[in-house]
Amino acid sequence: MTYVITGSCIKDDSCIEVCPVDCIHPKRGAADFEVAEQLYIDPQVCIDCDACVEACPVDAIFAEFELPEKHGYAVELNAQFFAEQSTAERTAA
């Protein structure tokens, strides 16, 4: 299971501040931070603690099993963000 961030995200960093395992990206200072349209949760790292849901001021974050149907795309989108990133890192290495 994981939590996922949907397109309503306003990128105000509230979730990043409370995440205990640092699984929400991109973060301030990262190369892709300014151009990112939203933040994403790394499903490989998320521990389902719910802290980000509490912190989000616009209710953009859901547990995967509670994700409204219209946001169904977000599961793959969050995972895809990290998949592409690790591909880019491998290519750069």
């Binding site: 397109g7 309503s8 960093d13 892709d32 151009v35 963000f81």
Partner: protein, 469 residues
């Protein structure tokens, strides 16, 4: 008389101003902050810009309220700086003045017919459907079958959705009642959205683009030839493209491959590599003429649109919404950078035309950095400005203003603007709107004229005119 508590006026109660107030209260708990706002209501584009069918984003108002007004920050609404009170008067009453006035006008296209009746800035349409009191009286003619939206950003996506979405869905939002009524009678069947560059350069967020492709009863058309990328864009996307750009291109390919929906009531067509050259009509808008572009690489490496020497194309339409960006306007008595349309500043400290720092004057949000970024961008922007302000306070760089007491600015405003709206007035408006909304299962029903807002706030009545707390 000496006072330790800095008194700060934040001009503009939109997201940038609200984030700045919240951040300042966290950094300097005893700062006394007045949010000075031209409108009777706070939260700027959160109320008047964010689309009504994006209600979840409007929940940010609860956070703003909790972090500012509920922590002692005052609201002075219906007060226009430069009209009701001047910059120098603010400077005489506050330790610091922070401008958070945003970008209030739209960029122009510079083509013939731009000002023809029926051709509007998309931001005017947005302000109208969101119940901005200054736009209450606009009359959009929605009787033609086709509208054209110029631009490929999120405002273009918003207005396209509002024009095509089932009215029943809008009835559950806080869209202004006058807009709802006009949209009920709309005869628009198709909205054509024009992008100057290609799919890889579209400025939509993928969330907005995805939404356009999944509206109930709306077909989204995109030509499969137009989603094929030119070699330059293909290379850019592979080597430097953002995650959003790659997601957008993928979405557009999916949309192009979908069969048309037979049951669609309305249709959206996305066109790429097209620039409008003229908005035509005998009197009001009847058609738009456009030319094809190709993507070229400029000397600085950017990919730009260049006109192709081919026949022009004309589309008949009765409404044009131009959405090619916001622009800030100069403020009276403070420096303005006419090239970048911002207050000249360094990390939020406003500078004179000679590049000297102007003590006690700051900028935050779009008036500081230009109209870029999303809501949360303003939080980081506000942190930077507030860091400078707090540094200056702690360094003793901000002299005590000549009239440092709250009662002095209140007395001045009471004379100038007896109908100033305070936090109580705003609570009355907010409560009334939510209550009306609750009865009809809507988040709120907005009071959309200045008179109604002032009446509901009780502005000018004996209790509120004398007290600003």
């Amino acid at each position: 008389m000496s006072r330790a508590r800095p008194r700060v006026a934040i001009v503009g109660a939109g997201p940038a101003g609200a984030f700045a107030a919240a951040c300042l209260l966290s950094a300097h708990g005893d700062a006394e902050i007045d949010l000075v706002e031209r409108l009777p209501t706070p939260w700027g584009l959160l109320r008047g810009g964010v689309a009504p069918d994006h209600q979840e984003i409007k929940r940010l108002e609860d956070t703003f309220d909790r972090q500012t007004l509920r922590r002692g920050c005052r609201f002075l609404g219906n007060v226009e700086v430069g009209v009701d009170v001047s910059h120098s008067e603010l400077a005489r009453h506050y330790t610091a003045v922070v401008y958070a006035t945003g970008a209030q006008t739209d960029k122009s296209l510079g083509i013939p017919g731009e000002d023809r009746p029926g051709s509007w800035a998309a931001t005017e349409f947005v302000a109208w459907y969101n119940g901005h009191p200054d736009y209450r009286g606009l009359e959009f003619d929605l009787s033609a079958k086709r509208a054209v939206v110029i631009g490929n950003g999120n405002v273009a996506a918003d207005v396209t959705r509002i024009l095509t979405r089932e009215v029943g869905e809008l009835e559950r939002t806080d869209i202004a009642d006058h807009a709802l009524q006009a949209l009920r009678e709309s005869r628009i069947e198709e909205v054509v959205v024009l992008g100057r560059r290609g799919p890889a350069q579209a400025a939509f967020t993928s969330a907005e683009l995805r939404e356009l492709g999944h509206l109930d009863g709306v077909d989204l058309g995109v030509d499969s030839d137009e989603v094929e990328l030119d070699p330059l864009s293909r290379r850019w996307l592979a080597e430097q493209g953002t995650f959003t750009a790659r997601t957008n291109v993928k979405l557009l390919r999916e949309f192009a491959a979908r069969p048309a929906r037979a049951d669609a009531r309305r249709r959206i067509e996305l066109r790429f590599l097209c620039s409008p050259v003229e908005i035509r009509g005998a009197d009001s808008v009847e058609a738009i003429t456009m030319r094809r572009n190709e993507i070229v690489r400029t000397d600085d490496g950017a990919l730009r649109a260049r006109p192709l020497d081919v026949d022009l194309e004309t589309i008949e339409c009765g409404l044009v919404l131009r959405s090619v960006g916001y622009r800030a306007v100069p403020l009276p008595d403070v420096p303005f950078d006419e090239r970048y349309f911002v207050l000249p500043n360094q990390k939020g400290r406003v500078l004179t035309p000679d590049g000297e720092s102007l003590p006690g004057v700051y900028a935050v949000g779009w008036i500081k950095r230009g109209p870029t970024g999303i809501l949360g961008t303003n939080k980081r922007d506000a942190e930077e400005t507030v860091r400078c302000l707090v540094e200056d306070v702690r360094a003793g760089a901000l002299p005590q203003p000549p009239n440092p007491d709250r009662e002095q600015i209140d007395a001045l405003l009471a004379r100038r603007k007896p109908d100033v709206i305070t936090v109580e007035g705003w609570r009355a408006i907010d409560g009334h709107e939510r209550e009306r909304g609750h009865r009809e299962r809507r988040p709120r029903i907005k009071l959309a004229s200045r008179d109604e807002l002032l009446a509901e706030a009780g502005a000018g009545s004996s209790e509120s005119a004398t007290s600003c707390t």
